[in-house]
């Protein structure tokens, strides 16, 4: 074993030990980038598949359920009331919320047909990874799409998606908050109505 390899091996051992000691940072920038590359490749294949719009919505819903941290996003969208909700309510809300998101944003994916998303950059911000992509759609100037990725749910998933700085998480927090206010804070009424909203 020559000097260089030994040094590399040592560095590798230290790095491994570091990761093991700090599980919160085990998702690397490269790992997050690879994950979003995979997501983006699948999105591109859906928007260029030539399938019917309703088939595309179903594909997007499946992608979202596979790669997004839906339970965390939905609990955050519910805001402080999530703390007093029962686990059954949380589960029902999460299911209704996932369907609502697919319907609401599915309609807008029509604009993406024939376009392409490319991952450009990735970096660590505090305990999570930020992956920056660019969407190039027909007849429009390119716009920025950013994925926030974390492994703190137990698997590598994205927990927010930003388009030109507009956060899905933040806007759904505001929206679900407003819906809950309109229903006098009644979570069951919110769940019921969410099943047909979007």
């Amino acid at each position: 074993m020559n000097k260089l390899t030994r040094r590399a091996t040592l560095a590798g051992l230290i790095a491994t030990a570091g990761f093991a000691a700090n599980p919160a940072f085990s998702l690397t920038t490269a790992g997050a980038r690879a994950l979003i590359n995979e997501v983006v490749a699948k999105i591109n294949s859906v928007i260029n598949s030539g399938k019917s719009e309703s088939a595309m919505y179903r594909d997007f819903e499946a992608l979202f359920n596979r790669y997004a941290d839906v339970p965390t996003i939905s609990r955050s969208a519910l805001g402080p009331p999530a703390r007093s909700a029962s686990s059954q309510q949380l589960r029902q809300f999460s299911d209704a919320f996932a369907g609502y998101l697919a319907r609401k944003y599915g309609k807008q994916f029509r604009d993406f047909i024939g376009g392409e998303i490319t991952v450009e950059n990735a970096r660590q911000v505090k305990s999570f990874q930020e992956v920056q992509a660019v969407a190039k759609l027909r007849g429009q100037s390119p716009f920025a799409v950013t994925f926030m990725v974390s492994d703190r749910s137990g698997s590598d998933l994205f927990f927010d998606l930003l388009i030109e700085g507009i956060s899905l998480l933040k806007s759904e927090r505001a929206e679900i908050g407003a819906m809950l206010d309109k229903r006098g804070g009644n979570i069951d009424a919110l769940i019921r109505d969410l099943k047909s909203a979007g």
Binding site: S76, K107, G139, I166, L169, K170, E175, M179
Partner: protein, 257 residues
Amino acid sequence: MLPALVSAKRILVLGLGLAVLTACSVPEPGTDVHDPYESVNRATHWVNVELDRSALRPASQVYGTLVPTPVRRSVDNAADNLGMPSAVLNKLLQGDIEDAVHNTARFAVNTTFGLLGFFDPATDMGLEARDTGFADTLATWGASEGAYVVLPLLGPSTERDTAGFVVDILTDPVGSVLGPRLGDQAEDNSLNFTAVSTVNNRYELTETVDGILYGSADSYAQLRLFYLDSRRFALGQTSDDDAVDLYDDLYEGLFDE
């Protein structure tokens, strides 16, 4: 600029007062909105939504249906091209020589080969528009955002952006009245447009705008969030700044209890 600074100071004082008053409660994460005129703003918002429902939306549907896409795009291009000299001036004021030269080249190409700007060969040559306006210049000079305001007909803005817009009318009268509002780098996603481009963009973004204005439980709050976040993003603020608290809270509260 001055009113914006004065009100920023007022907000600061108000904020300090509130911070003292609410020292015990935890501020809701992700709420970084200064909206002291909310009740007036909401009233203006509803007038704007009513105008959209009765005039802008129907007009945009007629325009979009009658006028073919290439013509609509050309009108958009021409208004955009007329705004380039103002964008060049503002890039210079911001000290961004590279973008000023870039926009000058774009203006030259589109005014000549693009037949007075009705066509856009510059973008294919790598000379895409790097729009900006006096609001961006004010931001570069360090003016704070000021309060969120909703302008009659024009929609969401801030005190700083409104001051910038007034100056834009002087430096780019046609673009300010006919074209997409400069100073709005996220122009394709923004909801601030005037006259012809307003109608055109209202048509092209029918689903999205309808979803916000008529599908939301609180369209005022959604529009405010969209405007402020896309503006801050266009001005180069990143997730290092305001959203991080929200993200921290996300997993702290859920898994570390």
